[in-house]
Amino acid sequence: MSAPFEQTQLAGRAGHLPPAGPTRPAAQLPPAGAPRGQVLRALAHRPTFVLGVLVLAWWVFWAVGWQAVGVEPFERTGPLLAAPSAAHPFGTDDLGRDVFARVAAGARPALLVGPFGAGLATVLGGALGLVAGYFRGWVDNALMRSFDVLLALPTLIFLVVLVGAFGTSTPALVAIVALLFAPGIARIVRAAVLVEMGKDYVTSARVQGETHVRVLRTELLPNIAPLLLVQALLSLGAAVLITSSLSFLGLGAQPPSPDWGLAINEKRVLLQAAWWTVAAPALAVASLVVAANVVADHVAETASAGQR
């Protein structure tokens, strides 16, 4: 059928202004099939896109360079639970540590586990979902029933077991996130593929003699890619927060790790006494997730402009 992230332009939207009026959204859309530079230039005119990119860059900066910059996430550098001030922009925690320094240093685990975990989950779930929905029949049954086993196991129980098996090192967390999210993504992707399979373009490709692998890759994948992107971005936040679930189970990363999820769980008791100790890491996670999604939205909008 058609492409997500595209829009049917209704009258009353862009382009229907009276003759003289230049139109805003249309002006921001790059021409169809425009070269990359032009797309980028169009994106650069979108303030929320620019903001999103800046936020992402900001976290990447801290993830890579917090040691070089010399923030002190572990030392006691101020009074206990000091409110945000010039010296401590996000205040201090119950051990007198600078909350900003901890959040900055926490960007590293977040940016390792989040994107890689979500990415791996999406690749895994996407691939298996595609295969299940495409071949249907026993392949579908075999794959989906195995995933059902994982989906039917309560998440937290599954987590306990996975942590028991892999531990809580960063690569282990990436693997855990992937295993935890892949079944759900596979199911969603399979559902989308089942719908696509009802459309003639898949038949046409097969009639042309296209191999199964290429049908999956070049015909179906592009059509479920927007869905996969949505899934990947939604998994991002959950992946960053995986340590929070783990620490709820008493299995989190080791203190004094500045991990965001860990911090949120540990400091939540301080929500009333010192809201900033929770708010800072929570906002960090939120800003990362929101920025990634907003940037992706903008890219999807520009990319789909002029399609259909």
């Binding site: 004094p256 301080l270 006494a273």
Partner: protein, 495 residues
Amino acid sequence: SFGSGEAGAAGAGGASGGSSAGGTYALGLAEPDSTINPFTVSDWNAMFVVGLVSEGLITQDGKGGLVPRLATAWEVSGDDLTWTITLREGATFNDGTAVTADDVVATFTTITGADSLSPGASAFKDVLATVAPGPGPGTVEFHLARPYSDFPVLLTGSNTTILPAGTSEQADWKADPVGAGQFLLTEYTPGQGVRFTKNPRYWDAGNVLLDELHVKFYADAQAQLLAFQAGEVDQVAADPTVLRTLGAEVKQSAPGYTKFDGIFLDVTVAPFTDVRVRQAIAWALDRDAIVATVYGRNATVANDALYFPDYAVQPGGLTQRRADTAKVAELLGGRRVSFTITTVDTLQTLAEVVQQQLNATGSFDVQLSVLPSAQYYADGADTPWLSAPATITNWARRLPSQYVSQLFATGAAWNASKYSNPQLEQLSAQYDATTDPGQRQDLADRIAAIEWNDVAVVVPAFASSRLVLAQDVEADFASGQDFSGGFDFRHVRLS
């Protein structure tokens, strides 16, 4: 099964306001972890439930004094080997049968039996030889294996509440909650809570002013705090977070010391084989800061010797250790020592502060390994709490000599430090056997000096239990809410 007044109050979500004078007292606990059985109960929440219904011979008040409960008197024989207990006349179990010497004998026989599952058994090992009915009516004789001047204190410990003779260790006590305590268990709903009503047959029923007691289960400490703020419960433990949240203006009750959190150093493993390293650690800690940060000031600075501040004998002559970076550097000779501290998640804050303080001296590079309790206290030879080189473990209040015999004696079951010192053991045994106060003081000084010097365990502070109470709670608690305090709700009422 419930009075109408109480049902109405509970329905309205209110903690108090029952129709009769004393009202319903509500408090929050985490759901008990272990089986609810006075013999085997081991976690504090379960002890609470059991302790409200059952009654021991003796308990301790908040200052370490002994309080007669089912026993009215206790005295030791001339050879210091037989303690005779006199039982309270007229005391009955909640089923109406009298508490007799046979019941006491049966209870202690079960606890100390060869196949006993009671966690209390260890306290009597090598101390109690036999129990038998005494010569007089209502008396019981405890025959000791060695002289033990603090023996009555052992009777205040865990799992020593008296149950009718014939009660099996394996019985489902919850189904038939028998005991001689202040309350009757009327309803136990897993996941939700327990309801108690006053036991009219309690020997001191006149002083139990509450009509009902409602224990609600909150798995989450924060939920408990919120419940307190919302008025759903009448008390909440005064941990630093609670105090910070509620502010200084709240009504508090501070019934006494309950525990210490010790940093156990395995003296057989480098770098702790070197006593200077152990001492350096002890000298590196800023104990005042720990008391403030970790315990919210509900603690007293300790000096690495295991004498609780409320214990009758206090050792003297030791310099109080305080953070001294120069001394640390001197002891270590400029070395930088790295090691990992292993601990359980409930002690994470202390571990983090200790790590922070040690690392701040520049002489240490400390890593942490914080484990969930099931893992930390796991079974087997390599259980972390006993086998890791440096651990932080909390210990409930016990007698000084108990710590020696259980933590530092050769072959002691819980010797996480792998420390042994025949001289210490000998002094400790002497101390147990002595009744003369002057001699005891002298022995205590020497024991403490050894502990202070050898630093098998660093004890930064003794923690006390403290409660924050709702405005309408009247009367202070005489003792801590634990087994040794007997979960005493006498004189407590709601206005």
